[in-house]
Symmetry: C4
Subunit: 195 residues, 4 copies
């Protein structure tokens, strides 16, 4: 069993998921700048979800790169992850069209939480498939961010009962937590090499 088609299929689904969210940004009928104003929450939701799908694609890319074997279980664990990620456009749309209301904000957290859980399941399934001394096992190490993120999503979901914007802040912070070190770690590795 080779991993090429799994990667190709995942790339296809993620490319579509990241792009169809754009269809949710409906072209306004007026032709003034002010006609775009009502699209602000839809646009901001799109940016956030684009970054999240980007993070998942990047992590998926790195994880699969180190994997040498895949199994039928890996295929299904991967489909399970794609299922939850395919829910992101819908929850993004609901969040954006309702100006970040409490229920849509909570649902967005539920989808992010389920995606994080599905990613963890995929990681575990892949690890079992490779053996404990594999490069993947070393690369994963003690995956702190992968454990903290779902907890933060749960907190965000709970926080919508107080105020939906708390959840919004948490979602942005989690995204930055993944995005920034991603860029910083590279720097350290590079610095390490030239040292």
């Amino acid at each position: 069993m080779n991993k090429n088609r799994l990667e190709a299929f995942s790339d296809g689904v993620l490319a579509i998921v990241i792009t169809i969210m754009v269809l949710e940004i409906k072209v306004p009928h007026g032709d003034k700048w002010s006609d775009l104003q009502i699209l602000t929450p839809v646009f901001l939701s799109y940016v956030l979800s684009f970054i999240y799908i980007g993070i998942y694609w990047n992590n998926h890319h790195h994880m699969m790169h180190t994997a040498t074997k895949i199994s039928g279980k890996v295929l299904w664990a991967n489909l399970h992850l794609l299922f939850w990620l395919s829910m992101i456009p819908f929850s993004t749309g609901w969040m954006g069209e309702n100006n970040f209301g409490a229920a849509p904000m909570a649902l967005y957290g539920v989808v992010l939480f389920m995606s994080a859980v599905a990613y963890k399941i995929l990681q575990t399934t892949l690890l079992r498939c490779q053996g404990q001394n594999s490069i993947l096992a070393k690369a994963v190490g003690n995956d702190k961010k992968g454990l903290i993120s779902p907890l933060l999503y749960l907190m965000a979901i709970a926080s919508t009962w107080v105020h939906p914007m708390i959840a919004g802040v948490i979602y942005v912070l989690v995204a930055l937590m993944w995005l920034i070190p991603d860029l910083r770690i590279e720097k350290i590795i590079e610095a390490d090499k030239t040292a």
Copy 2:
């Protein structure tokens, strides 16, 4: 003739088919949890169809993996399969939006039946192309599930005259029949290797 582009094109079509079904889950105008309730049948239909496309993608992946030669006939048999699978989003949408009515449930069965027949045709065409002693011939063996499934779909179609939910139960059972052993067989193979 190489099989890479056939796989890439099939992956593309299946990735789109599995993802555009999400567009059928229309964002509700209200922002309460109760506004999501009417989407329950649409969501359940989506889950079922997602699993079916997943099963087809998995089986397609395995079958093509063992194939060493393809012909013009294989290309068309493959397009024929993709045609019926491309009908799944429409029939899923009709089923979901009409709360699992009799006619939509029957149409869903017709599409599943035609997809199963198309898969069988593709398998036969591929087998002829590889020769009887090929790995594929051995891998297919006596493909019981591939023969029982279409019969169960026909039963499901007929059952909609009595009650549409009988068909629903059959569709779920067939999906589980493919999904569960898929995961179990891997276990046996693994156990076999370590023994």
Copy 3:
């Protein structure tokens, strides 16, 4: 310059073109079989266009397979072909929703004609790139079907002034002209090998 990405990009565009036509088959609100009746022309248009895109994909696959070199001009000739093929969903939709009226039937012919011309330009550009003694040059030979098809499309366009269904019959015949020998030629080659 390698041809892999050109093939991958073309596969992506064609996979999307062939699949988004399905979005034109709008889910009816009623849940009776009779509610599907009005979709008959839309469905028939979809089948015809699916076959046409399938033919283009197959021919593109074969042509590119023999090509060893590509140039910037080939990339643009390919994009030009994809442009006209991307017009097929729109013209299919117009044709299907208007029950095969004269103008939609003629427009469908125009799109098919332009696609055929674009394919010819791509072929010529590729040939110039490979040299006259290439495998591609031999494979193309005297491409009768590639020359007759555009003439038949022009005839079809003209015929819509008499009756739009004449054009419909021509479109079906041209599709069969490409589809059937495709399957037959393979047979001859196979017979030739075993002889």
Copy 4:
């Protein structure tokens, strides 16, 4: 880290971006040629945006082809480019549906400007990753067009205060500036080889 999946994912996103613009060309209800007339600006916008995405795809193809190493920063710089290109369908739709009004014309320029900036960032990130003596560094050379284009987009945005069509003319000229020499340079290289 390999560049194959980055290319595959970018191809997927660009293929979808170039194709979903077609969904903006809504099928008219009437079946007369005159019913298509109101679609003229939408169609012209589509042609222009198709060419722009084509230019980006071509340039992306060439740039990535010479790259030998990629980093996490490259992945994000690439996603950043894809983000702005994914805004093209929306701004194309707004421009087309409002008959090239001032604000939509300016927004189109903003999206093109941001895409050009994002491309430049990707180029710089890639260059840093390859080292100054790489093939990419030589291929980029003094990238005049890459520097003039964003300036022209800014001029176009400003010109919409005078008349939106000035911007339209600039967008067409920039597209031709990229399209025509692309084809001409190939000719010179070919002539050079045969000399």
